[in-house]
């Protein structure tokens, strides 16, 4: 795939420059609580969380083109597992109080197991059928949790012990950055290569000796595990949660939308697209909700019509053409 090769070349060429930018961004994220107000901190962490969700989605659906509309199922399961455990460990004496990272790991592994089973069954479906099946999975999970929570737990709302803004911020930031790194490493690994190959042409991949059903199931499970991590750390934001909030449709729709906004051809395109969109959404979406979302919808329709490969991918190509191949020479030197 040309995207991966271009990435590798430019890494070689502008290695030191890229590293410096990366270090600056990392330093910014870690020092932000020192000089930023709580409100802007929450904007930053929510955008990071959505970007992490998008990248987790991208790792499977963006590479293989098996569009999953069921992120909400795994996001909500991760969130609810964490919330319920936190509540129960405070209320009852039977459960030990576990540190948050361990809980998040457990939520992720739970999702991995669920997604492995779901993947084994549903990944025989293709295209629109897979999309609809996963969409239904998300909504079904919400309904079942609704039923279980309101009938067996007594109350519809689950109370989570509050966390301080700094703890929330660092939990989400570290998780998001770890997911970016994890997805990046896996994307360039053999598993990522096999997934991308399946996205290009599944029959060819099978002929080349890729065990397609195993790779797809594994990819789906890993992607869902990362979604579970994001859902789990989302629990630190709230003091009260309910199935309606945890399994909201928007967690199914936002990841594919944000990833496609950036473009699916390059590793960093969905990341930049998701960060840009979610920052805009957080900053403008509070004061002018309807007008902003209306404009956003119009922009997305225009992009789908005129730049279907995604904004970041399109800009990169224009930049390369505009510079007359200077970027290419720079990166190959």
């Amino acid at each position: 795939m040309s995207g991966a090769r271009g990435r590798a070349l430019s890494l070689k060429g502008c290695n030191s420059f890229l590293l410096a930018v990366l270090a600056a961004i990392l330093a910014f994220f870690f020092l932000a609580p020192l000089f930023m107000e709580v409100y802007y901190l929450s904007v930053l962490r929510n955008s990071l969380l959505l970007a992490a969700l998008t990248m987790s989605w991208f790792f499977f659906s963006g590479t293989t083109r098996y569009v999953s509309l069921g992120s909400a199922a795994f996001f909500g399961t991760g969130l609810y597992f964490t919330a319920l455990y936190l509540e129960q460990s405070v209320l009852s004496k039977h459960l030990p109080v576990l540190p948050l990272p361990l809980l998040m790991l457990m939520a992720g592994l739970l999702n991995f197991a669920i997604a492995f089973v779901v993947g084994l069954i549903s990944l025989r479906l293709k295209g629109m059928h897979f999309a609809v099946a996963t969409f239904a999975l998300g909504v079904a999970c919400r309904g079942i949790f609704d039923y279980v929570v309101s009938d067996f737990m007594g109350t519809y709302y689950t109370h989570i012990p509050p966390f301080s803004p700094e703890v929330t911020y660092y939990t989400i930031t570290v998780t998001a950055l770890a997911i970016f790194l994890f997805v990046f490493v896996l994307y360039r690994s053999k598993l990522g290569l096999a997934l991308r190959l399946i996205g290009e042409n599944e029959e060819v991949a099978a002929h080349l000796g890729v065990n397609t059903s195993l790779v797809k199931t594994l990819g789906f499970a890993v992607s869902s595990m990362c979604i579970g991590f994001t859902g789990s750390c989302y629990a630190t934001i709230f003091t009260v949660t309910s199935p309606k909030l945890a399994f909201d449709y928007q967690f199914s729709f936002l990841p594919p939308m944000m990833a496609m906004f950036g473009g699916l051809g390059l590793f960093y395109a969905p990341l930049i697209g998701a960060m840009a969109l979610s920052l805009l959404r957080e900053l403008l979406g509070v004061t002018l909700v309807h007008y902003f979302l209306l404009t956003l919808g119009a922009i997305i329709v225009l992009i789908a019509k005129f730049v279907p490969e995604g904004v970041v991918v399109f800009l990169k190509r224009r930049l390369e053409v505009g510079l007359g191949g200077r970027l290419g020479r720079l990166s190959s030197s």
């Binding site: 069954i121 629109m128 609809v132 099946a133 079942i144 496609m260 909700v289 919808g297 997305i300 789908a304």
Partner: protein, 286 residues
């Protein structure tokens, strides 16, 4: 027991109208219209607007809703989806691109409606008195809506089955390239099929508005799912299959609503997932 059977049939009739538009849109043009439920909600708001502010009889607003829907469908197809069809090399690519465009449409329609009408629930309570059907009591509006749905479906079926245009539509489903070869104007077929899909969606929306008094700009997703499930039960481009699927769905939904309301929604998704595993090509798929 009898009331579950009859109630399920009434609900199934409404669902068959909800589903038939998406089946036509997806079956013929291969556009996976995720904004389908939102189009349906536009129909509901048209009925609400005319009957609440101008005192038009709610049943008469169906005609207005239909007219607006047809024009809107043509505009949407020409402005958004025609370009996607042209630039896509395969049906899978078109599905992928139209999915993205539909996310945008969902945002546009939801927030346009929220801007104009606000987000509080709406509804046009009409013909709320009871009527007896085979000895069981039902609301009059349920029965009227079911009869109208069956009528509209029958007209659609006759149009597709017996007219020359319908023949061309069916030919486009079976063999797009071959249809073009024998002189079918595929562009026109796509345009008309998409608009007819919008038309039935918004008619269904207008009728949903008469029954349920709690519609908001955000309640479209449920109807998108109903339509998608019926599409999969019936099979792509299979008109009668989708009607049968809708009745199965309506009956099981209604029965669960009577038996255990909290599980009514999950059960239809479980039906869908099992269906996809056992017969992914639909009940009558070949």
């Amino acid at each position: 027991m009898l009331d579950v059977v009859i109630g399920g049939v009434l609900l199934g009739a409404l669902y068959s109208l909800v589903a038939v538009g998406l089946n036509i849109q997806y079956g013929i043009t291969r556009i996976l219209n995720l904004a389908y439920g939102e189009l349906l909600i536009i129909g509901a708001y048209i009925t609400f607007f005319f009957s609440n502010f101008y005192g038009v009889n709610p049943l008469f607003t169906l005609i207005l809703s239909g007219l607006i829907a047809y024009v809107l469908g043509i505009l949407l197809q020409v402005a958004v989806f025609r370009g996607l069809i042209h630039s896509s090399s395969s049906a899978e690519e078109l599905e992928f691109k139209s999915l993205f465009a539909c996310f945008g449409l969902i945002y546009i329609i939801q927030n346009l409606l929220a801007n104009i009408f606000g987000t509080s629930p709406i509804g046009v309570p009409y013909l709320m008195e009871g009527i007896s059907v085979l000895g069981e009591r039902f609301k009059m509006n349920m029965v009227v809506v079911a009869v109208l749905s069956v009528l509209i479906n029958a007209v659609m079926y006759a149009f597709i089955r017996f007219t020359k245009f319908g023949l061309a539509m069916r030919a486009t489903v079976e063999e797009p390239a071959g249809a073009q070869l024998v002189g079918v104007d595929v562009l026109k077929i796509h345009l008309v099929s998409f608009s007819i899909g919008c038309l039935t969606a918004m008619l269904a929306g207008s009728m949903v508005c008469l029954i349920y008094p709690n519609l908001t700009p955000y309640s479209g997703t449920f109807y998108t799912i109903i339509a998608l499930i019926t599409l999969i039960l019936g099979g792509r481009g299979n008109f009668l299959g989708s009607v049968v699927g809708a009745f199965i769905l309506g009956w099981s939904h209604y029965a669960m609503l009577k038996f255990k309301a909290a599980l009514a929604d999950p059960i239809i998704y479980v039906i869908l997932i099992m269906m996809l595993i056992i017969r992914p090509k639909g009940l009558f798929g070949r």
